[in-house]
């Protein structure tokens, strides 16, 4: 074979190695950060005994998991029970392949894009792979042969299918204005300054996407699948040792990748006030990577922040919220973006139109829900905004 792309193979291998390790280390840091930040938010200390500031706590946890007995209960369906954690972890690991985590570096006369694979259906790849995560949950739940696990699994699959729709529809506005499915192109198309980023042009879609992302990663306020207080941890009740750790890691990996995708799609990728162009061909690449990293980290902080701010939805509230608020908002965003973009061609008009349309839709839905409300004695805070009070009215 002449023209063997040796350089491409080596650089890809190095990129994969770095990214997978960053993901795994990121999971460890997230576990530490989650507990410390939770502690800080609840005015307590959090783990601070192992290592400086408790930084080695995840290592200790990992060692504990590894040395724990790998228990397989008698009543489980063994092949699926063993397979389920892997089916959750593998999609979480491979989905990162198309996320562009920086601009590009020039080394040895070749340009290396800071992205493992720039495929032309990048965003569809992400949707496809994330939709597979549900199998790990459902099969783990079913194989456990335990009613609480099964309840958690069924809740989770219904939730994931419902919110996947919003996830897919919310990005269509972005795709229409970028006219590309490649995540790299989407990131490049957004300019250097925050007001050029997609989250302002598609603000309702951005909110819908982020909310759906929370639901897809089973985070509070959407963590019904594993609600500790109701379902004894749900689908992974019967799991222990490394298998449980795999479920755990997959959840955190999904969070990290989800944040990276949101940053790429809506928050300008590696752009930040032109800082990403400072320095030579190598340094600008590294700086852009740093900017991307910081943005992702900030978004991950939001994940933890929301966890301690919002209470868990009830199941019917979850379904109502997904189908009656998020989905109409995402659909409206498509129609409005398309119509305004064709007629005016101005991003400013599209941005304003999107917000107004979303406001109207939410008001209409909320109004309809309030009108059809079944009479029920309840104490309501009338000062609250239209959306939350309508949400309460759904009950």
């Amino acid at each position: 074979m002449e023209n063997f792309p040796l350089f491409l193979i080596i650089s890809s291998a190095v990129k994969i190695l770095i990214i997978v390790h960053m993901l795994l280390i990121g999971v460890m840091i997230m576990i530490w950060a989650e507990r410390r930040v939770s502690g800080w938010m609840q005015d307590r200390l959090g783990p601070n005994r192992v290592g400086p500031q408790g930084l080695l706590q995840p290592v200790a946890d990992g060692l504990k998991f590894m040395f724990k007995e790998d228990l397989i209960p008698n009543h489980v369906d063994k092949p699926l029970y063993v397979l389920a954690p892997a089916m959750l972890l593998v999609p979480a690991l491979v989905v990162v392949a198309v996320v562009p985590f920086g601009s590009s570096i020039e080394l040895f006369g070749e340009t290396i894009n800071l992205q493992i694979a720039d495929i032309n259906i990048g965003i569809l790849y992400i949707l496809a792979i994330t939709s597979l995560g549900v199998y790990g949950v459902v099969l783990g739940a079913w194989a456990s042969n335990n009613k609480y696990s099964l309840l958690g699994g069924l809740r989770s699959s219904a939730q994931m299918i419902s919110y996947e729709l919003t996830l897919g529809l919310a990005i269509i506005g972005v795709l229409m204005l970028t006219s590309s499915l490649s995540l790299r192109t989407i990131a490049i198309e957004q300019g250097a300054y925050p007001w050029q980023w997609n989250f302002l042009i598609h603000f309702p879609a951005f909110l819908a996407f982020t909310t759906a992302m929370f639901a897809e990663t089973n985070r509070l306020p959407f963590d019904l699948a594993e609600a500790e207080q109701e379902l004894v941890a749900g689908y992974h009740t019967e799991y222990s040792s490394m298998k449980f750790a795999m479920f755990f890691m997959a959840e955190y990996m999904n969070m990290i990748v989800g944040s990276a995708v949101v940053v790429t799609l809506f928050l300008g990728g590696w752009h930040f006030f032109g800082l990403e162009n400072v320095g030579g061909p190598v340094w600008s690449g590294l700086i852009s990577f740093g900017i991307f990293f910081v943005k992702t980290a900030i978004f991950l902080f939001v994940f933890i922040w929301v966890r301690w701010t919002l209470p868990r939805f009830r199941y019917d509230q979850l379904m109502n919220f997904g189908w009656k608020f998020l989905l109409p908002v995402a659909l409206t965003s498509i129609v409005v973006t398309g119509a305004l973009w064709i007629t005016t061609g101005s991003r400013l008009v599209v941005g304003i139109g999107n917000v107004i349309a979303a406001f109207i839709v939410v008001s209409i839905v909320a109004g309809l829900l309030v009108m059809n409300k079944t009479p029920e004695p309840a104490i309501r805070d009338d000062d609250s905004q239209i959306t939350p009070s309508a949400l309460d009215a759904i009950e």
Partner: protein, 175 residues
């Protein structure tokens, strides 16, 4: 053997084995999982054929939505316990397999004998259109096939209403 042939054999074998596993597993859950494997291998074949968009949609629609519904129903009805009884007799089964093999021979014969002169010649030209295939599909879908596209949306709407009617009647009868 070039990489494409190796991948074709790999994906083809996996999809065939998966398909055979679908019809031979006793338990519906395992059948459903085998079907997912088959769908995946087919997505791989679609990528080999340069149909990236279709491959992604295959995974999103079939593996991500349809098979989850199957699993959902199997789990909800707890069908595993029912599947053992009521299999058809061995003699009929043999007859069915023989008929199936006859059908396979016919299909293979048609596939091999069909006039397919443009196959290799245009394979080269098709490769360059691969990178714009999503664009091509969109253009075809919203120009030439606009009416079928709208009809498809009607079919989906009909399915939606149909399911609601089925389920509604169910709950009314129970109450």
């Amino acid at each position: 053997m070039n990489p494409e042939q190796i991948l074709f054999i790999l994906f083809g074998a996996v999809s065939l084995i998966g398909a055979i596993a679908v019809i031979s597993f006793r338990h519906p859950i395992y059948s459903a999982l085998s079907l997912i494997v088959t769908f995946f291998a087919q997505a791989g074949l679609f990528i080999l054929l340069g149909a990236h968009f279709v491959a992604a949609v295959q995974v999103i629609v079939y593996a991500g939505a349809i098979m989850v519904l199957f699993l959902f129903v199997i789990m909800l009805l707890n069908l595993g316990t029912l599947s053992a009884k009521g299999a058809i007799s061995g003699k009929l089964k043999g007859f069915a397999v023989i008929l199936g093999i006859l059908l396979a021979i016919e299909g293979v014969y048609i596939a091999v004998k069909a006039p397919n002169d443009p196959a290799d010649a245009s394979a080269e030209t098709a490769i360059e259109s691969v990178s714009t295939t999503t664009y091509n599909i969109g253009e075809l879908l919203f120009n030439e096939y606009l009416l079928p596209f709208e009809v498809t949306s009607l079919i989906l709407l009909a399915a939606l209403i149909g399911v609601i009617v089925l389920v509604k009647r169910e709950s009314q009868e129970e109450s």
